[in-house]
């Protein structure tokens, strides 16, 4: 399926979701994550090569889609606890909730367009500019301005600045590049040794959420390329992953798959 890869087309993950739902001509109330998630991931894979910064937002949504999808497939696997522990904002407990939010978002999106027009109209009004000198004329200006500002206010402001700074620094350390190719290789070599593995085994090995997401991506790509198979013997049984033992490794191309930061 061809997508126009132009990163400014979609303002956010929900925008893209809308697009896919519309494209698939599915009634928005009938949509299931499974129908959409794969196409979503395909798109994200493309944009992240062009604009990693934008891809970040889309990736979070991708992980949400995968989480909801995995909950459907594996009712026993719950990532809920981890989500909350990390204080992540974007978690939806069910598909229904996700699509409800998406519909709600659409209302605000079209209202934002109307507000944009109002803003344009309002910009046509101009006011008499008030000059600083005019304000100075109002009296002893420094005292007027600073009358109530004490040394305590000053130090409190500085403490606030430093607090914010520490939070930000904390956030900056987190991103870590994980190569999609590397994960694909990891999965293949794991399967070479074991012949077959349970999905849970593969995922358990991932320490961070990002590497969990990338592993999921890698697995989906391998399935698509027909390098591995994923199957289940019986309902609610363990999901098994096996290698198709295709020797050709040319698909392991860093350039092609890039990394996810």
């Amino acid at each position: 399926m061809e997508y126009k890869v132009k990163t400014d087309v979609f303002e956010g993950p929900f925008d893209l979701l809308f697009h896919l739902v519309k494209k698939a001509e599915i009634d928005i109330y009938q949509v299931s994550i499974s129908q959409i998630a794969y196409q979503y991931l395909e798109y994200v894979k493309k944009i992240q090569e062009f604009n990693p910064e934008i891809a970040g937002d889309f990736l979070v949504m991708a992980s949400t889609l995968l989480k909801l999808k995995s909950q459907r497939l594996l009712p026993s696997v719950s990532l809920q606890g981890e989500e909350e522990a990390e204080g992540e904002g974007l978690h939806y407990s069910s598909e229904e909730e996700l699509f409800e939010r998406m519909l709600e978002y659409r209302k605000y999106k079209s209202t934002a367009e109307i507000m944009k027009k109002m803003e344009e109209e309002e910009k046509k009004y101009f006011y008499h500019p008030v000059k600083v000198e005019e304000e100075k004329a109002a009296g002893n200006h420094l005292k007027e301005y600073m009358g109530k500002v004490t040394l305590k206010d000053l130090t409190a402001s500085m403490e606030k600045v430093m607090e914010n700074l520490q939070e930000e620094e904390h956030e900056v350390i987190l991103p870590q590049e994980i190569s999609l190719t590397q994960k694909m290789e990891e999965i293949i070599s794991f399967l070479d040794k074991k012949e077959k593995a349970e999905l849970e085994e593969l995922l358990e090995r991932q320490r961070t959420r990002s590497s969990l997401i990338v592993t999921f991506f890698a697995l989906l790509i391998l399935v698509k390329l027909n390098k591995v198979s994923v199957w289940q013997k019986y309902g609610f049984g363990p999901i098994l992953v096996t290698s198709n033992n295709v020797g050709d490794n040319s698909y392991m191309d860093e350039e092609r798959w890039g990394t996810i930061g």
């Binding site: 974007l90 367009e113 046509k124 101009f126």
Partner: protein, 170 residues
């Protein structure tokens, strides 16, 4: 023109932003009723003589500005000082806050499907939103609400003038 009306005219001119009835009353000693009547007379006089200026009720106050049809000329006069519009992300976030205020960051993110911390900083910087207390739930998250500057930015008298929430299929 009676002296009081001329005084109001001078105040509206010099303010450069919406002036509330309360403030006008404090400064002039006129009653709110008198001020309202004088404002209306003044506004109608401006209209009748097709003045280049006009008076509006915006953001809970009275505001004197140029007539919008002259905007292209005024822009030429002011050169590059043109006011910049908000980005789509900022506008969407602002719309959510406007209709659901007071609202927490997490609640906004659930609707937009993306992180909004940077956008919130920008909107705070522009004084379009402000912190409005804390929600009494676990973690006591900050609540956000729109400001008077928000009303002014969109030329609204008050929040009841917000357009009704759109729900149209594209």
């Amino acid at each position: 023109m009676v002296k009081e009306k001329a005084l109001l005219e001078a105040l509206f001119f010099a303010a450069g932003e919406p002036v509330t009835i309360k403030k006008v009353s404090e400064i002039t000693g006129l009653t709110p009723g008198e001020i309202k009547n004088l404002f209306r007379e003044l506004r109608d006089e401006y209209r009748e003589r097709n003045s280049g200026l006009e008076l509006r009720e915006v953001a809970g106050g009275f505001l004197m500005s140029t007539r919008p049809s002259f905007a292209p000329y005024i822009k030429k006069l002011q050169g590059e000082r043109a006011r910049q519009g908000l980005s789509q992300a900022a506008m969407e976030t602002l719309a959510i806050i406007a209709y659901k205020q007071p609202i927490t960051r997490l609640e906004i993110e659930a609707i937009r499907g993306v992180k909004v911390d940077k956008v919130l900083d920008r909107l705070k910087e522009l004084n379009l939103i402000a912190e409005a207390g804390r929600k009494e739930v676990l973690g006591r998250p900050i609540l956000y609400a729109t400001t008077r500057e928000f009303l002014k930015h969109f030329g609204l008298r008050d929040l009841s003038q917000l357009p009704s929430l759109e729900d149209k299929e594209e």
